[in-house]
């Protein structure tokens, strides 16, 4: 039984990370109308930014986290200003190719500066939660708790922003309504920049929460971003609750898959699920939600 709960905990940890990445992706989808392939590179950039802050600047974990969020938000906004906003009237193919170009560029920069080797970010609070171990027999490293708690806090903050502010409501409307017919009189430039900033910051925070129990390397964003795509297709492109729920589902599926099927194949499971679902339902699981 405790093994089962152990997998649930692991799944929720993974799911929290995926959800944060997918959230940014789904919001940006509303602006670009295409999947932002460079989003995974933002995740990676966030990890390196934090690594830089903690090693070169000697910042503590939380400062490094904020630093990474700000830097990555900046990169995201720059990519919006310099590239995507200039391609707005071009065929969607161009956006997708430009996004791939950005992905390659950001990855190449990271590799040029830090090399292809693995790096680590030390856990700010090493050890496990004794209370859980004693009372429930579960092994829960503190960092995993921080990941879940951090994700929940961010999601609540994002929810408040999206529902309580005009800008937030606009972002939601754009994410869900592809035609944008109801968006008369909106400052598209401002909304795009804010959306990209949020997506960058979310990706960075997800990365910084995650890397203490993982590794930093230039291609670290690739699998994560792919899973985020799977998630937003499952949850419906442009859907915020869909991104959160989808992230948790994929996290749990992977955690149980790794445990009960095979660790080697855990990465294949998510994609196999996507292939299966899209084969049966070409519009995704919740087509009406996104369009």
């Amino acid at each position: 039984m405790s093994l089962f709960f152990q997998q649930v905990l692991n799944g929720l940890t993974l799911g929290s990370v995926y959800s944060l990445v997918a959230l940014g992706l789904t919001l940006v989808y509303g602006i670009l109308h295409i999947p932002n392939f460079s989003h995974g590179a933002l995740f990676m950039a966030g990890a390196y930014a934090a690594f830089f802050a903690s090693t070169a600047l000697g910042a503590n974990y939380w400062v490094a986290l904020v630093f990474a969020a700000v830097v990555t938000a900046g990169i995201a906004v720059l990519s919006e200003r310099l590239v995507f906003s200039r391609l707005r009237d071009k065929p969607p193919l161009h956006d997708m190719i430009a996004a791939i170009g950005l992905l390659l560029l950001i990855e190449a920069i990271a590799q040029a500066i830090w090399g292809a080797d693995f790096h680590r970010l030390r856990e700010p609070y090493p050890g496990i939660w004794q209370w859980l171990r004693i009372n429930a027999g579960l092994v829960m490293p503190i960092q995993r708790g921080i990941i879940i708690a951090g994700a929940v806090v961010l999601m609540i903050a994002l929810h408040l922003f999206l529902t309580r502010t005009t800008t937030g409501a606009t972002i939601i409307a754009m994410a869900q309504n592809r035609e944008g017919a109801s968006l008369v009189g909106i400052d598209l430039t401002r909304v795009s920049m804010i959306t990209f900033a949020i997506s960058g910051a979310l990706a960075a925070v997800a990365a910084v929460l995650f890397v203490p129990i993982s590794l930093i390397f230039p291609a670290m964003g690739n699998l994560v971003i792919l899973k985020a795509f799977v998630i937003i297709i499952l949850g419906g492109m442009g859907s915020v609750p869909g991104a959160i729920l989808g992230g948790m589902v994929i996290g749990l599926v992977e955690s149980f898959g790794a445990f009960y099927v095979s660790t080697d194949m855990k990465d294949v499971i998510a994609f196999a699920a996507l292939v299966l679902i899209l084969s049966l339902r070409p519009e995704g699981l919740f087509p009406g939600y996104a369009r």
């Binding site: 109308h33 295409i34 999947p35 392939f37 590239v83 200039r86 391609l87 071009k90 969607p92 193919l93 161009h94 997708m96 190719i97 430009a98 791939i100 170009g101 950005l102 992905l103 390659l104 560029l105 950001i106 990855e107 190449a108 920069i109 590799q111 040029a112 690739n222 699998l223 792919l226 795509f229 799977v230 297709i233 080697d264 194949m265 990465d267 294949v268 994609f271 196999a272 996507l274 292939v275 899209l278 084969s279 070409p282 995704g284």
Partner: protein
């Protein structure tokens, strides 16, 4: 007519250049790199059919090249199948798997299609890496035999293989030329320009897209088969999505939806990265910005830009000629008219 003539002249010149090339370069290394560029050009030709002509971004193209390569590698090394039979099966295998993948993925709208193919690419890559029993996993397949000789011709030197690959590239170009200039090729382009209109013109969307996809990945499969026989070692990295991104860069540099664009792009970029040796490890540092700048400022690529200008000038010339003819007719009528009066 002059356009046709110059096209033919250019083609002959290109073939001659390809034939003479090994004799004007200092050593085998140049021949080797060029042959690799040709192989990637064949794969890029296929990708361009889907991307440039049919308007769909298939991010699993490298995976299909890997499928072709591994078909040859596994069949020749583990099962002792003769190279050329394995070569044919590589194309067939890529096409068959492409057919299945196409039937599923081409029902999806554009960006879903791209995401889906990206996932297919990752699955293929993961399978190659993890399925040791079939693919030798991360160790890779070593000692793949070179193509067996045909009659008196042997392919055991780099030079001989260079000519084999050059011939394959020429064949690939001729076939692609016929495809894109055929009525079916026009149907592909109609799909790229807009699916509703294409369908209203009687183009069955699904069947036509699957056809384009299957041909496209068959090119990748054959290119992979050539790669296996030429490089003679295979590792999972051949399926990496960065390989697909490279091919997109080739096409964009040369010209999206042009016949020679992918070939020119492949040769240019291969040499650009080779000559910038110090950039070898950081070639993506060049490719990334290149992709971005191209879609922003020169989306038609080198050949596309040239071709557009040429077509426009030819059109103006032809129209001017027509106008002059019409004016000449009119003035001839004008001269006749008073005589009538």
């Amino acid at each position: 007519m002059s356009g046709l003539l110059s096209r033919r002249t250019l083609a002959v010149a290109a073939i001659l250049a390809g034939l003479v090339y090994p004799f004007v370069v200092p050593n085998d290394y140049f021949v080797y790199v060029m042959a690799l560029a040709y192989i990637y050009a064949i794969a890029a030709l296929g990708l361009n059919l889907m991307l440039g002509y049919t308007g769909h971004l298939n991010l699993a193209h490298a995976a299909f090249m890997a499928i072709g390569a591994y078909t040859v590698g596994i069949l020749t090394v583990d099962y002792g199948v003769p190279y050329w039979i394995a070569f044919l099966l590589a194309g067939v295998n890529a096409a068959a798997l492409g057919f299945v993948a196409g039937i599923i993925s081409l029902r999806l709208k554009h960006h879903y299609f791209s995401i889906f193919t990206l996932c297919i690419g990752i699955i293929v890559w993961l399978v190659i890496e993890k399925w040791d029993g079939l693919t030798h996993g991360v160790v890779g397949i070593m000692g793949i035999p070179a193509p067996t000789g045909i009659g008196p011709i042997r392919f055991d030197t780099t030079l001989a293989q260079y000519y084999l690959i050059l011939a394959m590239l020429a064949l690939a170009l001729v076939v692609m030329d016929r495809i894109v200039h055929s009525l079916t090729g026009r149907a592909f382009m109609a799909i790229r320009n807009g699916e509703p209109l294409a369908e209203a013109l009687g183009v069955p969307l699904m069947r036509t897209k699957v056809l384009s996809f299957v041909i496209s990945v068959a090119y990748a499969g054959f290119a992979g088969a050539l790669y296996a026989g030429f490089v003679r070692f295979l590792g999972p990295s051949i399926a990496a999505e960065t390989n697909a991104f490279d091919m997109i860069a080739f096409i964009l540099v040369g010209g999206l939806g042009t016949l020679s664009g992918p070939v020119i792009g492949a040769i240019m970029l291969t040499w650009a990265t080779q000559s910038l040796q110090f950039l070898q490890d950081y070639r993506l540092l060049v490719f990334g910005p290149l992709l971005i700048l191209l879609v922003m400022f020169m989306p038609k690529g080198i050949i596309g830009t040239l071709k557009a200008r040429q077509a426009r000038e030819a059109g103006e010339r032809a129209s001017a000629a027509r106008r002059e003819q019409a004016e000449a007719d009119a003035s001839a009528d004008g001269r006749k008219a008073p005589a009538h009066a």
